[in-house]
Symmetry: C2
Subunit: 357 residues, 2 copies
Amino acid sequence: MISERLRRLVPYTPGEQPQGREYIKLNTNENPYPPAPEVFAALSGFDPAVLRRYPDPSASRLREAVAAEVGLSRDLVFAGNGSDEVLSFAFFSFFEGGRGPLLLPEFTYSFYPVFCDFYGIPLKRIPLEPDLSFDPRRFVGEPSSCGAAFANPNAPTGIGVARREIELLLERYPRDRVILVDEAYVDFGGESVVGLVESHENLLVVQTFSKSRALAGMRLGFAFGAKPLIAALEAAKDAFNSYPLDAIAQAVGIAAAKASAYYREMNRKVMATRERFSRSARNLGFRVLPSSANFVLASLPARSGRELYSSLKERGILVRHFDIQGIRDFVRVTIGTDAEMDALLAQMRALADDRAP
Amino acid sequence: MISERLRRLVPYTPGEQPQGREYIKLNTNENPYPPAPEVFAALSGFDPAVLRRYPDPSASRLREAVAAEVGLSRDLVFAGNGSDEVLSFAFFSFFEGGRGPLLLPEFTYSFYPVFCDFYGIPLKRIPLEPDLSFDPRRFVGEPSSCGAAFANPNAPTGIGVARREIELLLERYPRDRVILVDEAYVDFGGESVVGLVESHENLLVVQTFSKSRALAGMRLGFAFGAKPLIAALEAAKDAFNSYPLDAIAQAVGIAAAKASAYYREMNRKVMATRERFSRSARNLGFRVLPSSANFVLASLPARSGRELYSSLKERGILVRHFDIQGIRDFVRVTIGTDAEMDALLAQMRALADDRAP
């Protein structure tokens, strides 16, 4: 009774959301700080009586607020139920039934290959550089592709790509195929290309309020692109679920969009903690990739990533391990509060010492 | 740059959500009464600080609360972002790439053919009876189909099918193909078959909190079925968007699931208003189909449905018109409060009198 495509596909595995034991939870890249005071006010001012009515299906006021933040007009912005949904609509709209495989970096957000399975899109993985950075110009030599997608900063490496490199890609890649840049982590030190969507009609930029606006629990994702791309995403939405954003999510999203000053300060704290933590971890003998995100990829020579993950979990700290050839030695560590990272460093010190003879 | 499938498809058109002028809004089958007091309490007790964390991706507590209401176990229930999303996942999971066309009643919820377009599923429309009722046993003579889907009560007719007729369908239709019964409107006098999912492993029942729990603004939909069907929907979700229900929607849904006494009373009021309105409209010379839903399909001889819709809109009342051969003469009228229906009846009287010489 189950469709063959569904039987064949391997779903995305979200990070653990532990129910019983209390962990220091550094495994799903959540922000350690609460949402803005404006979000609290929007919620306490929300009248539940309006819930009997359908929400605005096109989330106009929310899109307007988000557009204003980045200096674009509302019709260059699409809003969805978390950036995963936005990405899913984008894969359907721009890559389904295309003229060749979709290009992806070899290691990147692990949901992309799942979307490809869901829609039957062939994919081609392009290798990273030896230092695990990604050079988007590697896409240029692949003209028989239906488009390209990558995360900047990349996941799970955390390594960012400079705006200039993406501009070079846009200059050289076929202009009738979409290049999707997923900026889920860009507010932690990456270089956004959202300003380029007005001049590049095949550029789609995806962002989320889950990380840098501390609203993972609210499911708010956005795409920025030329009008025809946004109109396509609207049509895809209206062929799947006309009302993906509930009335409360829209109200909360508007409040969060307007609270940029609070969030900038909060993200500065996360970045400072990341730099301090990375230095300390390197001093303990860990390899830590240079990150522009709210997480780092770290490894300890002579310990497997699986061992690191398990040892830390036993010690009450949840990080994430990807059992994938090439990054198997690493664990991905979300940047928490200073206190949480100090607790982690203490355990890392013990693990590093353990290793000594 | 846009995929051919998207370019070819005609998206679903949600009912108007007017922004400027204030209408008596009887066009999108919203409940005229507010959500339960328990919903108000759940919202005011919700701590926005938890929004920094991802919600439970499988909405376990919500599924448990909904399961308890209908006397099933949690693993026979799937929860999604409104029943449209649940239906979309179901079409992908059970009908995509299937062994023949999907069977649908000729007139039914107009989103079904759009889902078919989205996933490339061929469909076959089965005629209604002359009185616009639907006999599900008509599906039995179509064995070379990949499954069947219908709404009960049907939309936009409002006419229900007896449980016994669905049992007869289940006995005679191939047991290795899914029969999807969409019970969006069942709480307004229909006969639910949700109790049959334990004994019929190819039955999937879909429900929503948008209508009978007055939560259209919250996006909460559910599917009930045997474990393998629910597991398939979970896998489809995890290949599209792992976290479709935000943390507030889950909390509100739990509160609404537990407020059945309030909602039963509220829906009794809607049904009483519907019966009173239908009698009065018939007395004015309108044809009103017998409805088990929170809307009725009505027509006035010698007036087109389009004229009825426009005249009522001019008079400040929004209803819905479907420009589709066979139901073009009708308008669909949502049942509002007694006062709203009295205001509508006054305008209908004027229209009926107008027609007189």
